[in-house]
């Protein structure tokens, strides 16, 4: 379930800006090109050379998705406790304290209200750099509250997952978060408010096996590891090599598990387009959030402001052309 150590070992230079040493240059974990840190950040943590999608800091993710100045944070009122007195090579309590100090957040998630191309949404963004984005009681509670409040306020829910799975330091209480987040989503379903789940690298274990795959739409970023059991566990079980691209976004798209694989630069526009269409069914005017009609008229401008222009190479220009304008 929690695969954080494995990932840490394999990919020490992944784009989690807060955690890595403050060098000016980073090595792309896809093509190994040296990239100037600021260029990478300006390019949404996508390698300008090979389009490899690095992991993205939570704040940058929120900034990328929310309309400028629209984000209002909801999360942060609940704090984790060490309910089991869990100690491995280090007490859970101490691990929590040190990562909380570093991240300046109580746990591995940020939620809040925003508009996305004018559409009122709730964002729930997981933080892989916080104990591998693992889901314990607080992450589960924040997701549940976000879903319920989104339903109350007539907002769509957009989640961005990045998680090694359930947090084993909270034992079965973490396992139960899978059921908790699932039942909390019912509030949205009952009001027919869209839930778009974005799976980013990596989304594994108890997060994949609960709310993250229960979106009305489930999409992934390119090249993301998405699985129930991690590759190492499977390899140990079956003692064979795994197929090329196994458990990556594109593989899962072919297997029929995803609605689409969407490059980061297009994500905001595509989510907005999806959400508008989901809210545009026959006779659903009653549930369409009030802000929608205005949003439709301002949308072309918003699309032009998409970060595509900051990228400036062929693949991404092509991507910008493909981005639908609903």
């Amino acid at each position: 379930m929690a695969l954080e150590r494995w990932f840490r070992r394999k990919r020490p230079t992944r784009g989690d800006d807060d955690a890595s040493p403050a060098g000016l240059w980073l090595k792309c974990s896809g093509c190994h090109a040296q990239i100037y840190r600021k260029d990478l950040a300006a390019n949404l943590y996508v390698c300008p050379e090979c389009a490899h999608h690095e992991r993205m800091p939570v704040d940058a993710r929120v900034e990328m998705l929310a309309d400028e100045g629209s984000f209002e944070r909801w999360s942060g009122a609940v704090e984790p406790v060490d309910a089991l007195g869990f100690v491995d090579t280090e007490p859970y309590r101490e691990r929590l304290t040190s990562v909380q100090q570093r991240s300046q957040r109580p746990d591995a998630i940020v939620t809040g209200a925003a508009t996305l191309h004018g559409i009122p949404v709730t964002l729930a963004v997981m933080d892989f750099s916080f104990l591998g984005g693992s889901m314990g009681s607080v992450v589960g509670e924040e997701i549940a509250r976000a879903a319920e409040r989104a339903a109350d306020e007539g907002r769509a829910l957009i989640s961005v997952s990045a998680s090694g799975g359930a947090r084993m330091q909270e034992g079965a209480l973490s396992l139960m978060q899978m059921a908790k987040t699932t039942v909390a989503l019912e509030a949205l379903s009952e009001r027919r408010l869209p839930f778009v789940s974005v799976l980013s690298d990596p989304t594994t274990g108890g997060v994949t096996a609960s709310f993250a795959t229960l979106g009305d739409l489930v999409v992934a970023e390119p090249g993301a590891l998405i699985c129930f059991a991690g590759p190492r566990v499977i390899q140990q079980t079956i003692k064979q090599d795994l197929p090329e691209g196994f458990q990556r976004s594109e593989f899962l798209l072919r297997k029929g598990m995803l609605d689409d694989v969407i490059p980061r630069s297009e994500l905001k526009a595509r989510i907005a387009a999806f959400t508008r269409l989901l809210l545009a069914g026959i006779g659903t005017a009653g549930v369409v959030p009030a802000a929608l009609p205005e949003a439709a008229s301002t949308e072309p401008d918003d699309v032009a402001e998409e970060p595509d222009e900051a990228i400036g190479h062929d693949e991404d220009e092509e991507a910008a052309v493909r981005a639908p304008a609903v």
Binding site: V78, V81, A166, M178, T182, V183
Partner: protein
Amino acid sequence: MPLPFEKSIDELEARIRDMRSFAQEQDVDLSGEISALEQRLVTLTRDTFANLSRWQRVQVARAPGRPTALDYLTRVVDDFTELHGDRTMGDDTALVGGLARLGDTGVVVLAQQKGRDTKENIHRNFGMAHPSGYRKAMRLFDLADKFNLPVVTLIDTPGAYPGIAAEEQGQAWVIAASIQRMSRLRVPAVSVVIGEGGSGGALAIGVANRVFILEHAIYSVISPESCAAIRWRDAAEAPSAAEALKLTAYDLLEQGVVDEVIEEPIGGAHKDPGAAIETVRVTIERAFAELRSRAPDDLIRERRERFRRMGRFLDAA
């Protein structure tokens, strides 16, 4: 094969047997001595099992000879008829489903079946279901709703199977969907963890109105072995991981994860399967007696609230 900590119990049992046959062969009266030994056996067994470490409980939960799901099914419910297949691609042998009678009502039952020997274990994939198993569970949940049949699930799995086909067929997707589908059941649902409640693969059929656990069963987010391999980087630390995970029946009761612990016969369910099975039957019947008159909407609401409450945290607000 006795478990390591059962050795002295086993030896004492052997001594009592020897003394009995000696008394019979030699026609001497040793009844006083025998009954004293029997008394000692009860005390020894009770003390041993009252003081098991968490890791020892894990071993009891997995003990060969412990009643399996089908052992319970044949006697907890009447006229169990297995229904096969997920209507999409196959029939999973690790997750068994079917119809049965419980008292005067029909029920849908779902049960994770481990093998009672190596051959059956291979056939049952050691109780580890593929996506097909969870798809079968979901279509049987549909059946239960359509015909107003209460649902009984018996949980006993190391976990959902981690394999190539399982991943390709969306193991995570079907577990999530099964959790959701079960939470929406319009009929009463009761789950009993009878052995090993292994993570999401167990929870997928554990979203019930009442969740019970046998005294020596476990329910955990991850196996102690895997937890040790990740957190200690040493699978041999499994006993430490079992302690840290707080995965025993009484731990889970304290955490609010289960509603009630079902006591086992002295020495564990494997010492007296008949008695263990009877206790489970009585518990399930009692739960349904409480739940049967509830309206569907109330059942759904209560089930949702039950799981919505899960977790421990500090709320600053």
